[in-house]
Symmetry: C2
Subunit: 351 residues, 2 copies
């Protein structure tokens, strides 16, 4: 008949000879509708190709069954993989998603985004942009303006908010310890941009692992990159000059590690014999580098998925049980994947 979405609950009620509430009960699968009434209504609904308006429902019910998601740096594989985990799990649990992306990582005009989410009656918010510089400062001022549960990903621990993150510190320690276990003692580090909390955690993990092994960490052993392969190339060249006796290097991410391999190749440095390399992230390509890359694998898809699950729990707690829940703090442990760039005994490449 009329095109989908044209019919309203009122038409259905009229055609079925019942009231709008009865139709409402049917479409929401509520009890207290006689079996044959329900059937009659369902028939009319399919006849009329009736589709309830989510907007009207949101207005009346004062909730939308949607979450607001704030992301940043979608063109990088990490954030987009996390988002992918978010979409999959939200779908599974019956929630839709409103998406905003920060135009720059350190953008500070947070208020309009929050307002936009809230004005759309989101049931909860996922703050999936990384913590950089002072881009979490707004929390102090605005936390109580937010009337819905909110979960922050990849954020330094604080007691007043819920956080789900990867344990970067632990991952970095594992990476460094792996190099130490291989007998390396001159271990450098190419850090991510230290404005990033994650980069600082990884640096700290390297430092603490070195110190725990009785080795000292000097300034010249660390160079800061910006996650890009390009910056990695600059960094490794600088590091090789400043720290020529280096026999192992923990690189802040796999992209920068790629450039370390390229530089070594160009200079005739053999990997892993002369220089053992460990990356961080575990991107799929890392297995196909020359040589394949030892790395700390963080499952960012899982991160997003867990975050949604926890957010749903918070929302349910508030709505169903009407109880305020304690903030959640989860840190997912990453995993060491040993490949040829650190261990010569590993077979040559992916196959």
């Amino acid at each position: 008949m009329g095109r989908t979405g044209k019919a309203t609950i009122y038409e259905v009620a009229r055609e079925a000879g019942v009231s709008r509430q009865t139709v409402s009960r049917v479409i929401n699968n509520k009890p207290d509708v006689a079996l044959d009434t329900r059937k009659r209504v369902l028939d009319i609904i399919s006849d009329l190709e009736y589709q309830p308006s989510a907007i009207a429902r949101s207005l009346s019910q004062r909730r939308s069954y949607n979450f607001g998601v704030l992301t940043a740096g979608l063109k990088y594989i990490g954030p987009s993989t996390t988002l992918s985990g978010i979409t999959a799990t939200a779908e599974e649990l019956g929630y839709g998603l409103l998406l905003k992306e920060l135009s720059s990582f350190s953008a500070n005009n947070i208020h309009p985004i929050l307002i936009w989410f809230l004005s759309h009656q989101v049931d909860g918010i996922l703050w999936a942009a990384p913590e950089i510089g002072s881009n979490r400062d707004w929390i102090n001022d605005m936390l109580d303006e937010i009337r819905v549960p909110i979960i922050f990903l990849t954020t330094e621990k604080r007691d007043d908010i819920s956080i789900v993150t990867i344990d970067n510190y632990h991952g970095a320690k594992m990476a460094t310890q792996h190099l130490l276990d291989l007998g390396r003692k001159q271990i450098g580090h190419i850090a991510g941009p230290l404005e990033w909390w994650e980069a600082r955690q990884r640096l700290k993990g390297w430092q603490d692992a070195m110190r725990a092994a009785g080795l000292k960490t000097e300034k010249r052993m660390v160079v800061e990159g910006n996650w890009s392969s390009k910056s990695g190339k600059v960094a490794i060249n600088q590091l090789l000059s400043a720290y020529p006796e280096m026999d192992g290097v923990f690189v802040g991410n796999d992209q920068m590690a790629l450039s370390v391999l390229q530089a070594a190749f160009e200079r005739g440095i053999s990997i892993p014999e002369q220089l053992a390399v460990v990356g961080f992230d575990g991107i799929p390509e890392s297995e196909y580098y020359c040589p394949s890359l030892t790395t700390i694998c963080q499952n960012q898809h899982h991160l997003g998925s867990i975050a949604v699950q926890e957010l749903v729990r918070l929302v349910d707690a508030v709505n169903l049980e009407n109880q305020k829940v304690e903030p959640i703090h989860l840190a997912i442990k990453p995993e060491l994947i040993i490949r040829r760039s650190s261990d010569p005994d590993i077979s040559k490449g992916g196959d």
Copy 2:
């Protein structure tokens, strides 16, 4: 005062001693409000921390200023880069985004997604999932159910829908022609999964360029991969056996090309001297491969951006000028980036 979002237009009207309509005029920046009335209302608004409800506005206005975006494969860099272009331009042009991701590329349960978008009063839809197998078949049945403008990305041309895409065919011809210009005559191809329209276009570009050069294309010169580095490794090994005289290869994407370089390295095949390699995509890392990779660069961020711009044009045309517009067909030309994997005269690596 009350927490943000608590106050309604009614409270503001009462406090300011005007009607709701006047408040509405103020918040929508409409004319016909006296300067001092406007000021008084604005003061009350900021006193009460009033925030209009986007939901109520959507219901009443029968539009939401939001677009529905369907994506797929966010964990891959292509789709997520496109999404990034979409978010940036949507933000710029004043639109919000409702996001859905297909759980698998070839998923066929499209109807619920469409219904979900429409029930949320989206002003338009961006279909940003790639065309694979028969996953566009639904268009025939459902196109007239969709009451809003819709733009398809990366879709084979058809006259009844609007399409914005990269010109894959042209890119593949450029890649192959580049190898021909270098004097190579034995040129193989590692294709993407041929279920994908893009993969078929790239295959066709290779074929046509070869034929135009008077060279014949045989079955054994082509191996099908699935875009992953892993599949690329299998493919290049197979190709080297079936087509040993090969002196150039056009690889369907950069990830698979990475494995070609790894395989060549392991077998002692020198690149580009013995085998010239061209990839497709132009991912940032490709510059840092060993050796750096010649590739066809497609600007997917721009693709997403253009798609949004065109969608806004369609929406405006319908709303403002109330005119039906002809479907749009745009094909963005990709760009050849020459690096060391095809041309030995190029300097060594990124620096």
